[in-house]
Amino acid sequence: MTAQSVKWFWYASPQTFYPVAGVIARWCGAAAAVLCAAGLYIGLLVAPTDAQQGEAYRIIFIHVPAAWMSMFIYVVMAFWAAIGLAFNTRLSHMMASALAPTGALFTFIALWTGSFWGKPTWGTWWVWDARLTSELILLFLYFGFMALQAAIDDRRRAERAGALLAIVGVVNVPIIYYSVQWWNTLHQGASVSLTRAPSMAATMLTGMLVMALAFWMYSIAVTLLRVRCLILENR
């Protein structure tokens, strides 16, 4: 057992991790606030008005970062689930459980903002385009994970069952995404699609990236806070 591996498992102890999580959460929370302010400034004030969609396009500064986070969080969740199953570390499972609600939240935000973007641009509140439909299914996957963990009383079984489900889910997400994309092109044609954002001026891209970073920092902060609660609740 090398010194390196000992160090990893040192932080895998919930007791040791608790204060570390608090420190990281505080810093990430501060970073999130700063980045969000910057991102909103760029998105709402600096970025130019779009020629085709007018001011309505500004919703992408929330919609696209939220969609990115929703998928990223699911992958991270599955990663911690796999670590938990492989090494049998409770903290890994707690990380996975802590990530789910935030992931589901971002998925919902992506759906909501997507809907609000679709109404002025395409005239309907819901568009069965590839991204929104995939996000909807992703939301069901998150809910399934949370529901399964909530339905099992034995904590250990709950964590491990959820972990397996998350891994099966993450393998399926690309398959689902591509089959939905194929389905979408067959049934609707390229005209009705929220995936075609306005041609990206540099400021628009910057705004999106800054907001994505803000959401990322926010997710870390919130997840670590939730893990701290889980650690206390499961002593």
Partner: protein, 38 residues
């Protein structure tokens, strides 16, 4: 917002509202579990 105010603020508003709700729920939960389990 060039007439799209409802949509833009509806989207941004609900987003930050939900984020605020998540933070509030977490703070509440954090307070409860550090009170009962010391």
């Amino acid at each position: 917002m060039g007439g799209y105010g409802l949509y833009v603020w509806g989207a941004y508003g609900v987003t930050f509202l939900l984020i605020g709700v998540e933070i509030a729920l977490l703070v509440n939960r954090s307070r409860k579990c550090s009170e009962t389990k010391t």
